[in-house]
């Protein structure tokens, strides 16, 4: 059980600064996701923690031990950190069992070469059968490779586990099942986990804490529901999922918009603001007096649900609403709208 503390970490890649003073605490036994678009520096941060890159400034601590800091640098092999990379990076010349046993002490490794007790337990932990133990990495699927990579990292009982986009190279179906197997295994081990990803659904579903990264800085750190419902800025809002922006006029805890008067998550003073809603907060119904109405411009059908593009009759603003796949309105029809939950206001930008 180890707490990871990152403070003031700055780093550059090829002379270009990519991280600008990052702070993050990952409490013992929890999972944090670092979410950001590709090129934002999230992998660099992971490499700094793992010890593959030396930061320009800042410290990284595992509990009370400083592994990187002023005058301190602990080699990666002495940090007890498990690292699972995007492609798994299994050793192609070793069998699955030998890969998993790679980091074990020599004597134990010899015993485990053909799926000893430890290797079998780890394979089971990541949801794989012991029959894979003698296969080569190129004889198993991508999802299986990722699970073996995790088992290999867990074999040494690391203090924390770093996952660098471990599911992004898998296709959609495999991604979900692999992610679930990995999440179960990690939860079972109770290990502290940092996941790096550009997939917002993955971050929100996988982690206890989500840190949104933009151009080498954290724009927001919070629980998944916090960052989704109350994003700190427009960038976080748009990155975390479909967003509807409306013009509005704030007055204390309420704001008046083309969708009527809405409750605000927190007071925004007086005056013009931009209002954020999520598409699933906008509910479609029959027209009724006093209820804002809109014309259905188009629909995008996903099966389980659908996105409906609407033009508000009040000020002709275009918004989107998410509806159940069974309740898709015909294009051109006029519907009445109600808003559920609280809205979020940003200064007019």
């Amino acid at each position: 059980m180890t707490t990871l503390r990152i403070s003031g970490v700055a780093a550059s890649y090829g002379g270009e600064p990519v991280l600008h003073g990052l702070d993050l605490v990952v409490p013992s036994g929890t999972t944090s996701a670092i979410l950001g678009p590709s090129g934002c520096g999230k992998t660099t941060l992971l490499r700094v923690v793992a010890g593959f890159q030396v930061p320009d400034a800042g410290t990284v601590q595992l509990d009370d031990e400083t592994v990187v800091g002023p005058g301190v640098w602990v080699a990666p092999e002495r940090r007890d950190i498990g690292y699972v990379a995007q492609e798994g990076n299994l050793f192609p010349h070793l069998s699955v069992a030998a890969n998993i046993a790679y980091g074990l002490p020599r004597g134990e490794r010899r015993r485990e070469r053909h799926a000893g007790e430890r290797v079998s337990r780890l394979l089971e932990l990541v949801g794989l059968g012991a029959d894979l133990a003698d296969r080569r990495p190129d004889q198993i699927s991508g999802g299986q490779q990722q699970r073996v990579a995790l088992a290999r990292a867990l074999a040494r009982r690391p203090r924390i586990v770093l996952l660098d986009e471990p599911f992004s190279s898998l296709d959609a179906g495999l991604r979900t099942s692999t992610r679930e197997a990995v999440a179960d295994a990690l939860e079972h081990e109770g290990v502290t986990v940092v996941l790096v990803t550009h997939d917002q659904a993955e971050a929100l579903s996988f982690a206890d804490q989500v840190a949104i990264m933009h151009a080498g800085r954290f724009s927001q750190v919070g629980t998944p529901s916090e960052v989704y419902a109350t994003p700190a800025d427009r960038h976080s809002a748009a990155f975390l999922g479909d967003a509807v922006f409306l013009r509005g006029k704030a007055a204390g805890a309420r704001v008046s918009t083309a969708l009527g008067a809405l409750r605000l998550h927190e007071g925004a003073g007086e005056g013009p603001v931009d209002v954020l809603l999520r598409p699933e907060q906008i509910l479609l119904g029959d027209m009724a007096p006093g209820r804002p109405c809109a014309e259905v411009l188009s629909t995008t059908y996903f099966g389980h649900d659908a996105l409906v593009t609407l033009r508000l009759q009040a000020d002709r603003t275009v918004v989107t609403a998410r509806v159940h796949g069974t309740e898709v309105p015909p294009t051109g029809s006029i519907v009445g709208l109600t808003v559920e939950g609280e809205a979020r206001a940003f200064g007019v930008g």
Binding site: F52, W73, Y83
Partner: protein
């Protein structure tokens, strides 16, 4: 606890860089030595030595040989590669082997075979004939590799854009062959510039044969050094021409997904004449040397002593082993540097080793003799200098294999090992070494074979009394003892035979000889 900081991602460890720099320096040293020596002659005497009808004749000879042979090898190589890889030619696999196998016969053995069949053969015609038959596989190999890897969908796209089958071939397929064909032709050109054995046997003087003659006449080799400088200039000209013709356009496949297999062109009624043509080519390139060898072996020489052959074989294997090991050890750090992020330093080191490889063996040998005589007298006339020359000559061959193997062991795997508790050294031993060993072994084999059949540098540098298969063959055939030379030729071909296999499994566009 403060520990030494590792290099940032991409750069190789300091020790590796240091060794790489030393290797690169050794590779450029011959060039520097020859240049310095030539400049010491002074402008006046240099001009007098260079501005002679003799030099003009050498220039004409060398240039016409290079132009004609490169043209013939290009036609033979590209044509046969297209027939083997892209048409319904029966027995394509067998033909592929037959088109590479001539490389297992050293060119100077081939000339001996041809002189056996046509005793009057000499001059430009003979030189072009023999060198073309010996060297056309240099064009065949890379072109065939590219043709094999070509994506049918590119040709299909061209067809769908309104091009007929011929137009599609010329506008969509042929341009993709250009880098490979040019690379092969450059290789042929460089080999021709450094060829000694064939041309001496066929009495066709070029710069290389003249330099060796000069050396035999007088050890003071200022004239030789000047000729060597001209030879280097010709090499650099070839390199530049190839670079200019190649251009910078990209020919790599864009987009993901596996390339679709090619649909072979149907030969139809042309099958029989094409088969006939291929058979004639194979007979000329392989049949003649085999027939001649069998002929001379059956004639036999009553004075032939198998013990001497065995002893020579032992010497050759010893030299080839040491040079092979040394070359692989020297190539490893260079390949390591190159496989990391490209910096100006790693590019410079890579180029340095290739510059050395484009220098004729005779130039490298002369430079090493000069160095040894002047600065390391006890080393002169020792096997050490000879092995050093082999290393400089053949380091690119080892590097091709090791680089390819290094690509199978990406940096991420070393990092994975580090994260699993290995220090840098243990990560190297447990991950990098096992993964690159097959490539290193292939590189070693390439060098071993090259050394076993090397003639020019060996003639100049071998300690007095030391005979290799190549020099023993050369001495015997030089004194018209063709029957006595045959066993040595046969031994060289046996040692070289695996080369065919090694070359056929080399990754495409990576052929460097």
């Amino acid at each position: 606890m403060a520990r030494p900081r590792p290099g940032s991602r991409g750069s190789a460890p300091t020790a590796v860089v240091a060794v790489g720099l030393v290797v690169a320096a050794l590779c450029v040293l011959p060039l520097v030595v020859v240049a310095v020596k030539a400049f010491q002659v002074g402008w006046g005497p240099a001009w007098a030595l260079l501005w002679r009808p003799r030099v003009g004749e050498l220039l004409v000879n060398t240039t016409s040989l290079v132009v004609l042979t490169v043209a013939v090898t290009a036609a033979l190589g590209i044509g046969s590669a297209w027939l083997v890889e892209r048409t319904s030619l029966p027995g394509a696999k067998l033909w592929r082997v037959a088109m590479v196998a001539p490389l297992a016969v050293p060119a100077f053995v081939n000339s001996y075979a041809w002189v056996t069949v046509l005793p009057g053969l000499d001059g430009l015609v003979g030189a072009v004939l023999v060198t073309s038959l010996s060297y056309f596989p240099f064009v065949f190999l890379p072109v065939a590799a590219v043709l094999r890897g070509l994506d049918q969908s590119i040709e299909d796209s061209a067809r769908s854009l309104g091009l007929g089958p011929w137009a599609a071939f010329f506008r969509a397929v042929l341009p993709q062959l250009r880098p490979a064909a040019l690379g092969g032709m450059l290789l042929v050109g460089l080999h021709l510039l450094s060829e000694y054995g064939v041309l001496a046997m066929l009495r066709f003087p070029t710069f290389t044969t003249a330099i060796l003659e000069q050396f035999e006449v007088a050890f003071s080799n200022s004239a030789g050094s000047l000729l060597a400088l001209v030879l280097i200039a010709l090499c650099l000209t070839l390199l530049t021409v190839e670079l200019l013709l190649r251009g910078t356009r990209r020919h790599a496949r864009l987009g993901r997904g596996t390339a679709r297999r090619l649909v072979p062109a149907r030969l139809g009624r042309a099958t029989a004449p094409v088969l006939g043509g291929m058979t004639v080519l194979a007979l000329l390139a392989l049949g003649v040397p085999v027939w001649s060898l069998v002929h001379w072996l059956s004639v036999g020489n009553p004075q032939f002593d198998p013990a001497v052959l065995l002893q020579t074989l032992g010497t050759t294997v010893g030299l080839a082993l040491s040079a092979g090991v040394l070359t692989v050890v020297a190539a490893f750090p260079v390949a390591w540097m190159i496989s990391r992020r490209r910096t100006w330093l790693s590019v410079a080191v890579e180029r340095a080793t290739y510059v050395a490889s484009s220098l004729p063996g005779v130039v490298i040998a002369l430079a090493l003799i000069t160095l040894a005589v002047r600065y390391a007298r006890p080393l002169y006339q020792t096997a050490f200098v000879l092995v050093a020359a082999y290393t400089v000559l053949f380091i690119p061959r080892a590097m091709v294999s090791i680089r390819a193997a290094r690509a199978h062991a990406p940096e991420e795997l070393s990092e994975a090992a580090r994260a699993l508790g290995d220090g840098p050294m243990r990560a190297f031993l447990r991950v990098l070494l096992p993964l690159t060993a097959p490539g290193a072994l292939a590189g070693f084999a390439m060098v071993f074979i090259a050394v076993s059949t090397e003639l020019t540098a060996t003639l100049l540098l071998a300690p007095t009394g030391t005979q290799t298969l190549a020099t023993a063959f050369w001495n015997a055939s030089g004194s018209i003892d063709y029957a006595g030379a045959a066993p040595y030729a046969a031994a060289m071909i046996l040692v070289s035979a695996p080369l065919t296999y090694l070359l056929l499994r080399q990754p495409e566009e990576e052929t460097a000889l």
